[in-house]
Assembly symmetry: C2
Homo-oligomer: 405 residues x 2
């Protein structure tokens, strides 16, 4: 039996029109001979009474807010949003003539840790899903949820329904996991910045993670990590079109790239609104600084440590808090707000010499200063002033000839 | 540990004001030294997005209605209404400083048959509830629901949350089950009809069943039956007052009744809008008539069979359908629409001679014709013309001196 898992997010679930578009994708998969497992999010429009936000607002009344919310019960409440979506999907598909079975996360066999609000999937017991598929049913699974060993409902937190979808894909040995969203695929750069940005036919798991982290928020890295571990391909696709989208695999074959030019960089991503904080001084206690930030739940990026200097970035909104805590430890820091991270992402840059050189050249010839840089095997990040972010993205897109197929 | 189960219906859950009133009752029970198990219904106002009706309307869209609704999934959907109520109750009680634990029906150990939409409770596994109570927590249980052996969510149908409450009361050996509602107790008759109708301090299980069936819809007979089997007292009380309400037990002690007059009749109930159907003829096939009605899901009342006549009542709205089906079997029937059932309810009438005589006298002296009558050990029913219903209720209330304590 060849299996596909298809995940539809909140905007795909919210209106009759978007749901009809979703059903056509499900029906196409059936016609193509797949057994189909559908994962749905809660109805995603703000103000919709069954959206997660609306459910949570029930716990924010003046009567309720005098005590911290119990996380176990918050999960019970939130899980209803996806259950409602699953039942609506199932009934509407039934009305279109299909055999269907709606399931909660727990019924779909998703066993998690008891970390309410941010539970980890420990196991997927696929018996019920296999039975449904063997019976010729389309399984509609409420995303974003599972249950712990005690039978308490949990939610998956970060990555939500994406994680449900890839976890099921791995457990069921699905041929592919379709993540339906409101973009038609992964672009070489943000088309609002780069006119000739182009949709990519394929990217690697690592590439999409770095792109997603950098602002192209189409799929959560946690979900990608699961798919990567199980080596199940993901397709990022649009609910509202038949575009095949972007295929995400271990090693993207760049067959479409006919240029003789190297394929070191796949896309350019960016994140605005970060602040650079620099602490200088002889014998600086860098570990005490990192400990302090961790204690206050401030996550750092772009960390650079030298004997006389510690530099890092935080979101603009946290800069004041960070500086305040540093001053309490006796550190004087220098802050530069309104910076932007620009990154060149490419699994193909491993071992290719001169990628950094080309980035530096491209930015310098556009008059853009690099405030700081960092790199991994698959991504090079530079920090620039926010006012130069768009120029930097365009310069790098051009330098790596990403508009050319 | 002395335990009380307190059930709050839809109107008690719906507004901050009514919920505050509910919390005061829960707190009073704690102060009185009880371990408290609370059972809640879904928010009960029409138009409230989390009311059962609103949830069900999601399955009635033009997209969904082309196929019959799947009962298993309808139960999944409906159960969310009570879960949402339970979480809101729990959080608001926590904000008032209490230790609380919200539970789904399944988590509270309610194991049911798989008759979706109308499941029977097979067992209550009280471990989780006992643990919560031992930990000093108020347990807040989502009413109207359970789960079957497969872990599928079920709803209890008729009797709903009342049944949850009495089933838990029996399983936990509760001292009493409080059914909070919008009336302050059981009255001797409808006060809109009888000016001097009086609230009863005590009634028996059988009496309240017959009164409830007859229109005083404060608690479902199915729930009462469970309490009766387990011999757990019920108190019917108002959420919005401190009135002790009406205590419902096996054998009501009529200590409050100081009159030397007999205590044969406790209350007068009534049901308007029934139609009397009479089929006459030699060698009439009464069993074929009953079979026919059962096939068409028409439930009959006031059945009277003689060799040449079959008479019964149906709700007015079903009279045409019943006559149509009878004519198809070749029976000509006579219909009298707009009748009313009036009943004298009293566990004390068993073995008391002359009760029927007094009813006939009272109605005759008020110029009211009895169209038909029926009786059980604890209730005498008479069928009268609807225009004389109120007069009949008043005449019987007077005849049995029910206004006198």
């Amino acid at each position: 039996m060849k299996i596909v898992v298809q995940k539809f997010g909140g905007t795909s679930v919210a209106t009759p029109e978007s749901r009809r578009a979703a059903y056509r994708h499900i029906e196409q998969a059936k016609e193509d001979g797949y057994a189909v497992v559908v994962v749905v999010s809660a109805m995603g429009r703000r103000g919709d009474p069954y959206a997660t936000d609306s459910l949570l607002s029930l716990l924010e009344s003046s009567e309720a807010s005098a005590a911290p919310v119990n996380l176990r019960e918050r999960d019970m409440l939130m899980a209803c949003g996806e259950i409602i979506s699953a039942v609506v999907f199932a009934q509407e598909l039934r009305a279109r003539g299909h055999k269907v079975r709606a399931m909660t996360g727990a019924q779909a066999g998703i066993l998690t840790s008891s970390d309410f609000g941010n539970a980890r999937i420990l196991d997927v017991r696929t018996d019920a899903l296999h039975k449904a598929l063997a019976d010729g049913e389309i399984a509609i699974v409420a995303g974003f949820q599972g249950a712990d060993e005690d039978g308490d409902v949990t939610t998956l937190g970060r990555g939500g329904s994406d994680t449900t979808a890839t976890a099921l894909g791995v457990a069921l040995h699905a041929e592919v996991v379709d993540i339906f969203t409101d973009v038609s695929g992964i672009m070489t750069a943000d088309p609002r910045i780069v006119d000739d940005a182009r949709q990519l036919a394929q990217v690697t798991y690592t590439e999409i993670c770095n792109m997603a982290y950098q602002g192209a928020k189409v799929i959560h890295p946690r979900a990608v990590e699961l798919a990567m571990q199980g080596n199940v391909p993901i397709r990022v696709r649009s609910t509202m079109s038949d575009d095949p989208g972007t295929l995400v695999t271990q090693a993207a074959r760049r067959l479409e790239h006919s240029s003789v030019f190297d394929q070191s960089v796949t896309g350019i991503a960016h994140t605005p609104n970060v602040a650079q904080i620099v602490v200088r001084g002889e014998g600086i206690g860098s570990s005490s600084i990192f400990q302090l930030m961790a204690e206050h739940q401030i996550s750092l990026d772009f960390i650079s440590v030298t004997p006389t200097e510690v530099a890092f970035t935080v979101p603009d909104g946290l800069a004041d808090t960070a500086v305040h805590h540093l001053s309490q430890l006796g550190y004087r820091s220098q802050v530069r707000r309104g910076c932007a991270k620009v990154s060149a992402v490419g699994a193909g840059m491993m071992g290719v010499p001169g990628v950094m050189a080309r980035i530096v050249d491209a930015l310098a010839s556009s008059g853009i200063d690099i405030l700081q840089s960092a790199d991994s095997h698959t991504t090079i990040w530079v920090l620039v002033d926010g006012s130069q972010m768009a120029d930097a993205v365009r310069a790098l897109h051009r330098a790596f000839q990403l508009a050319e197929v």
